[in-house]
């Protein structure tokens, strides 16, 4: 994936991410009403409008605090390009995959 590829201009979506408290693993809020979490961006819930993302984010933060499951919960922008979910910011692309300098590590290693 070209990290600075901005050639596509599809509408931005939002997803919600955090680090799992116990081991620090990067996780994403899963689709559905139960506030589950998944480890891969491909399985994450996507939000088309900011209001829905804000509502889900508030619920996710409350759950993270109540259950002490996750830390540093926040929403980020992404696009779907050629069927691939691509975070807008380089930082989020690296979090979703792993270090660009060690493609044998991180989530990309199991892809």
């Amino acid at each position: 994936m070209a990290l600075n590829d901005k050639s596509r201009n599809e509408a931005a979506l939002k997803a919600i991410t955090a680090n799992r408290l116990r081991d620090g693993e990067v996780i994403f809020l899963a689709p559905g009403p139960n506030l589950g979490w998944v480890e891969r961006l491909d399985d994450a819930a996507l939000f088309e409008d900011a209001a829905a993302a804000d509502t889900a984010l508030a619920a996710a933060k409350a759950q993270a605090e109540d259950e002490q499951f996750a830390v540093d919960v926040y929403a980020f922008d992404l696009r779907v390009t050629d069927g691939q979910r691509v975070p807008v910011k380089t930082r989020e692309r690296i979090r979703a995959l792993g270090p660009t300098v060690r493609i044998d590590l991180g989530k990309q290693a199991a892809a």
């Binding site: 600075n4 901005k6 002490q68 380089t90 690296i94 270090p99 590590l105």
Partner: protein
């Protein structure tokens, strides 16, 4: 009970039972804190300062644990333990930093107490590797070995470690606090870009004293440390530092994190007023309570032990023959080997910067190999340099070829210490939660571009330093060529500075021109080098040519296509 006997691992401070009990109690304290966090008794806001006090950060992919390597000195046994932790709890490697520490990037919170327990077994810890306290005191990687050394800085760095650890006044300073100490006339520890930089020296009577520079630092606002005292007698070493820290603790800003470092205080108060405040505090403090007694210094020095050097002569025949027969070995000796204070010995830099490699990374297997080599050739001790390399400080010259052969066979024989391939780079956006841009890929691309050892040697001394954000962990301000990653609307750009200098002639680099893309950066470095080579006089270093001809020719060439 494990005990590292002086002499066996000469040059490494030996813990006593009090040291060991203290570290063990801290591990158990943190274990309880982790359990309370995982059970929900502690919130993240409550827990975060506690984990940071134990060197545990949350980075992009996982927790990062920064382990203290006091003044960069390690035993082979300790390095083996780090290798084991890397294999057991991380992903088989560790990263040596510009603070002479080691950090692991893929740590689980739930494993951290076990890791700290294992570290304590070899007299190691992660205390004061984070938080607003006095951080790991750094020094010359050739301490105790360099031919130009006047005073052994390890002794005073260890005194500072003991004095500052859990010091009640200095556990919650306005910001982190970094001290570096040198015991030579040279500067291999970037003294004047630290909060406090200390030169240890001797007067005409042979007595030890210290020169203090205060208020240096890099980051958002780079400053060169100001001389505030040329001679502090040994017995006042602790009192004078205490006075500096008290003035900082009293006047340092706590309302704005960006203005909280002592460099801002010194800048805003002015050198004269700051010095006056310190001198007044020093006059109040000076007395029996803060006097550093000679017997205390002697006891600390004794606990370091000393290598059992043999009586040898320099340049033994076998060493000369090996150099004559093997040009690659001769090049490594010329570049990576430093003269030792004891005839027949040498200090060897093990480069962690292979062409195209990640600066400062070492695999668990490499760490174990280096530990074995330290045992075989350097009295079981080694050092981490602030340039992210390792050093075997006491190698017999007639063993250098054997050492080099083993290093070379394992990708550790790169002859680039101090050359263009010896790039300092912070972890950058590949790992760090604060970074704006990646640092490592640029370091890899530049070192690959300049992979040819002969070309590197022709270019000569030229430090490239790369930071992925304004916090300047990669020391870009003091790189002969500095590179700063910046984010421009989601894209990585790189700002180039030239003329930085971390040595005795400390200088902050100047921005050459507008930031460029990653691909353009590598070409820009090549262009800068070409301008240098075509303009330099015989034997002239890059920074000297730059001073003589000015920025013009470099800027013109780099931005010719823009």
């Amino acid at each position: 009970m494990n005990h590292i006997a002086p002499g066996r691992n000469a040059g490494v401070y030996s813990y006593d039972d009090i040291d060991r009990r203290f570290v063990t109690e801290r591990v158990e304290q943190f274990r309880a804190q982790v359990e309370r966090r995982l059970s929900g008794e502690l919130t993240e806001d409550e827990f975060k300062p506690l984990r940071l006090m134990n060197g545990l950060y949350l980075q992009l992919h996982a927790y990062m644990l920064r382990i203290a390597v006091p003044y960069g000195v390690l035993t082979a046994r300790q390095l083996r333990k780090l290798a084991e932790i890397g294999r057991k709890y991380d992903k088989g490697y560790g990263h040596f930093t510009t603070r002479q520490n080691l950090q692991f990037n893929w740590i689980k919170l739930e494993d951290t107490p076990a890791i700290l327990h294992e570290l304590a077994e070899v007299d190691m810890h992660a205390l004061q590797t984070s938080g607003n306290c006095v951080r790991n005191v750094t020094t010359d990687q050739f301490v105790g070995a360099a031919r130009d050394e006047v005073v052994d800085g390890r002794v005073y760095a260890e005194i500072l470690r003991q004095w500052t650890t859990l010091h009640p006044e200095f556990t919650f300073l306005p910001r982190k606090f970094k001290i570096a100490i040198m015991g030579s006339d040279a500067d291999r520890a970037a003294i004047r870009v630290h909060d406090v930089g200390v030169f240890a020296k001797r007067n005409e009577r042979g007595e030890v004293g210290f020169t203090f520079y205060v208020g240096g630092g890099l980051g958002r606002s780079p400053f060169i440390g100001k001389l505030i005292r040329d001679w502090v007698p040994e017995e006042d070493f602790v009192a004078y530092l205490e006075a500096i820290l008290r003035v900082y603790n009293q006047y340092g800003r706590r309302d704005n994190i960006y203005k909280a470092r002592i460099k801002i205080l010194v800048h805003e108060l002015g050198q004269e007023k700051f010095t006056q405040e310190v001198e007044e505090e020093f006059a109040r403090l000076r007395g029996p309570k803060y006097r550093l007694a000679p017997e205390v210094v002697d006891e600390i020095r004794r606990r370091f032990g000393g290598p059992a050097f043999e009586t040898l002569t320099d340049e033994p025949e076998s060493f000369q023959a090996a150099k004559a027969a093997n040009p690659d070995f001769a090049r490594w000796v010329a570049v990576n080997v430093l003269a030792h204070k004891v005839p027949g010995y040498a200090a060897a830099t093990i480069s962690l910067k292979p062409a195209g490699g990640i600066p400062g990374d070492a695999t668990s297997e490499q760490m174990e190999l280096i530990a074995d080599l330290a045992d075989a050739h350097s009295f079981g001790e080694l050092r981490v340099s602030h340039a992210q390399n390792l050093v075997l400080a006491h190698v017999r010259q007639d063993a250098l070829f054997t050492l080099w052969t083993a290093l070379e066979a394992n990708g550790l024989g790169t002859p680039n210490a101090g050359l263009i391939g010896d790039i300092i780079a912070c972890p950058g956006l590949d790992y760090c939660a604060l970074a704006n841009a990646r640092s490592i890929p640029l370091a890899q691309a530049i070192s690959a571009r300049f992979a040819d050892p002969a070309r590197q040697q022709t270019i000569g001394e030229l430090g490239i330093k790369i930071s992925g954000c304004i916090n300047a962990c990669g020391h870009h301000h003091v790189g002969a060529i500095g590179i700063l990653g910046v984010d421009k609307k989601g894209e990585e750009f790189y700002q180039i500075t030239v003329g930085g200098d971390p040595t005795l002639t400390t200088a902050i680099g100047d921005i050459l021109g507008p930031a460029v893309t990653a691909d353009e950066t590598v070409d820009a470095i090549e262009a800068i080098v070409e301008v240098y080579l075509s303009n330099r006089h015989d034997g002239e270093r890059f920074i000297d040519t730059l001073k003589r001809v000015g920025h013009g020719p470099f800027k013109e060439r780099v931005y010719a296509a823009h």
